[in-house]
């Protein structure tokens, strides 16, 4: 069980992220919660691709006769990181515009949509 520590850490990270997203009223903190969630998923992807004593899957000047870790999940993680950056950039910009118009980033004070 203790060898599976990374998976337990992932579950805890996701729990923390959801708690932040659902409880915090400061929108920047909600976006930070999303960032934690995304990092947890990235960590999960990397973790499932690890092989005992593996090296990075690159042939240039690699040592002889060792296992390589699984490369696909690393490619997926790379993709997800960029997607996460894009999403965060968009969210932060939206919050900046909201702050300019409303003067607040508290999600309690800005629910004008409710009428």
């Amino acid at each position: 069980m203790i060898a599976n520590l990374p998976f337990i850490a992932i579950a805890l990270l996701i729990g923390i992220a959801f708690a932040i997203i659902l409880l915090k009223k400061n929108m920047i903190k909600m976006v930070m919660g999303l960032g934690i969630l995304e990092s947890a998923v990235n960590l999960f992807l990397i973790t499932i691709g690890y092989r005992e004593d593996g090296i990075a899957p690159i042939f240039t000047n690699a040592p002889e006769g060792v296992n390589m870790v699984l490369p696909t999940v690393q490619a997926l993680t790379l993709t997800n990181i960029v997607i996460g950056v894009a999403g965060t950039a968009l969210m932060i910009s939206m919050i900046m515009v909201i702050y300019k118009k409303y003067g607040t980033i508290n999600s309690d004070k800005m629910r004008r949509l409710k009428e």
């Binding site: 996701i14 997203i21 929108m27 909600m30 976006v31 999303l34 969630l37 995304e38 998923v41 999960f44 992807l45 499932i48 699984l70 696909t72 999940v73 997926l76 993709t79 997800n80 997607i83 894009a86 999403g87 968009l90 969210m91 939206m94 919050i95 515009v97 909201i98 300019k100 118009k101 409303y102 800005m110 629910r111 004008r112 949509l113 009428e115």
Partner: protein
């Protein structure tokens, strides 16, 4: 010509993307031809989608391998029969969704070119529009789980950016932010479950995973996450809170396409349920989960819609309610999937009704949003209390709105009636109570729309709307396209069901044919 026909699935994505990438350059140096360019690109991508769908209906499932050398199959022999490249698998259901997206996206472009004429930031707007179209096309054609996630993110981000287009003193941005946060969480849940499946089967191809699928705890966790996340995307009830906020503040034309975008989430849900998990899970339990989500969406959507004063918000709640019909029909079909006799008796019809409702909903809800957008375009007023007497000056818009309203309420001879009748009949055979709920919801929908119609178009001419004119011709052209399909599908339901809906239903019900199409002789 054979170059185009051989590579249709690639062109489906490449054409809108190429168009979108060129728009910043065209907008900077040749702003005069920008409108013509966007109409051309949208027309070409819609044509590519229609051609793809036609090829699928005539020649069977299309399998396209990205980056493979000419002549090598989906699962090369030296890999031991595992498809290791990204594969587009377009079967009857994918082709069906492509058709619906193609029709709506082209009609909406015509509308938008006229209605957004006076606004700033159009280069970005149109590029995002094309990217949203490409995202929908990609979601419904891909046969690869991670690729599905990537297109889901394109769909989400471009949808959110488009919602925020008008800004409206921050309200639009707020709606967009809410939509973006909810859907990003959903997207990450999809990715987590993709990771769970990858950890067990070391593959991302849907067909390969389906062929290896067994019932483990991890797979159940993954299924729960998939259902939650894709129901979020589709705007079904426990997660519907972002949908009305986003739809009510988006530009009207965009909302029409967003309906299709949320249905792409529904596509993913059905694809995962039927194709990936179809053979192994307890279909009765999961089917009832889907049915309950559907019933809740129907009832809560329509009850929230009734007291709304904001006309677009009202339509958005009806969109939630109509999503329930699709979930109900397909949920019933999934619940009886393990029972061939029941499937033959009513499951197949329920499935066809649910799927037929997808395209019908895209068409008439698109028409309604465009008509309401036309009213707002001329008057600038959202509130039902302040509108009135517009039928005198906006005759065409009134006719289009009436057609859409009758179609959504399920009145013959419009298309909503055809699909709702199929759902009522088959669900009645499954469980009469569900069918009665569906009918009651339909009556409430009719009541709600009669109220809207009366308060917007009927009554005496109001002095403040004295000078309101009919909308420009291009906007009418966009609405006419959708109206033709609404009436056409209503007049010839049998023809439509036989030619496009039945292949879609068969594609979902027959899991083996999907797997064979990709993996070929390696089973």
């Amino acid at each position: 010509m054979s170059l185009i026909l051989d590579n249709l699935p690639a062109l489906l994505i490449a054409v809108p993307l190429l168009g979108a990438f060129l728009i910043p350059i065209i907008g900077r140096f040749l702003p005069k031809i920008r409108d013509a360019w966007i109409i051309l690109v949208s027309f070409l991508s819609s044509m590519a989608a229609v051609l793809t769908a036609f090829t699928v209906y005539t020649k069977g499932t299309l399998v396209y391998v990205f980056g493979a050398a000419a002549g090598s199959g989906a699962a090369p022999i030296d890999s031991g029969g595992i498809p290791f490249r990204i594969i587009f698998t377009i079967d009857g259901f994918g082709a069906f969704m492509l058709l619906s997206a193609a029709i709506v996206s082209f009609a909406v472009v015509l509308y938008l070119v006229a209605s957004q004429k006076e606004r700033s930031g159009k280069s970005e707007f149109y590029a995002l529009y094309l990217l949203l179209t490409a995202g929908i096309f990609g979601m419904v054609s891909t046969g690869d789980l991670f690729n599905f996630f990537v297109f889901l993110e394109i769909n989400t981000l471009s949808g959110a950016a488009l919602v925020s287009y008008h800004r409206k003193g921050g309200i639009a941005v707020e709606g967009a932010l809410k939509y973006l946060i909810v859907n990003t969480v959903g997207g990450l849940m999809v990715l987590f479950s993709v990771g769970l499946l990858y950890a067990q089967y070391n593959s991302l191809n849907m067909a390969y995973i389906a062929s290896q699928m067994t019932l483990t705890t991890l797979n159940i966790v993954a299924l729960v996450l998939f259902i939650t996340a894709l129901a979020m995307k589709a705007g079904a009830v426990p997660f519907h809170f972002a949908t009305p906020d986003a739809y009510s503040v988006a530009p009207s034309g965009i909302t029409a396409l967003m309906v299709v975008a949320s249905q792409a989430g529904l596509y993913g849900l059905f694809r995962i349920l039927f194709t990936v998990y179809g053979g192994v899970i307890n279909t009765v339990t999961v089917g009832w989960v889907i049915i309950v989500i559907g019933i809740l969406s129907m009832v809560i959507g329509v009850t929230m819609a009734l007291p709304q004063k904001d006309i677009k918000r009202l339509l958005a709640y009806h969109a939630v309610s109509q999503t329930g019909y699709m979930l109900l029909g397909v949920g019933v079909a999934f619940a009886v999937l393990g029972d061939p006799a029941a499937t033959a008796a009513f499951g197949q019809t329920a499935m066809e009704g649910g799927l037929f409702h997808i395209i019908n909903h895209a068409l008439y809800k698109g028409l309604l949003f465009l008509a309401v957008g036309a009213v707002i375009y001329r008057t600038g007023v959202w509130s039902l209390n302040k509108l009135g007497g517009l039928g005198h000056n906006m005759k065409w818009t009134m006719v289009f709105f009436l057609i859409g309203a009758l179609a959504i309420a399920g009145i013959p001879p419009f298309n909503g009636f055809a699909s709702k009748l199929m759902i009522y009949e088959s669900v009645f055979a499954f469980n009469p109570a569900l069918s009665i709920i569906a009918m009651v919801v339909s009556i409430l929908t009719l009541a709600s729309f009669m109220k809207v119609f009366h308060s917007v178009f009927m009554g005496p001419k109001l002095p403040e709307f004295e000078n309101v004119k009919e909308v420009p011709k291009l906007m009418i052209a966009g609405m006419v396209i959708l109206t033709i399909f609404v009436i056409g599908f209503g007049l010839m339901p049998d023809l439509v069901v036989d030619s496009i809906v039945t292949p879609a239903a068969n594609a979902l019900l027959n899991q083996g044919s999907y797997i064979t199409a990709v993996l070929g002789g390696f089973l």
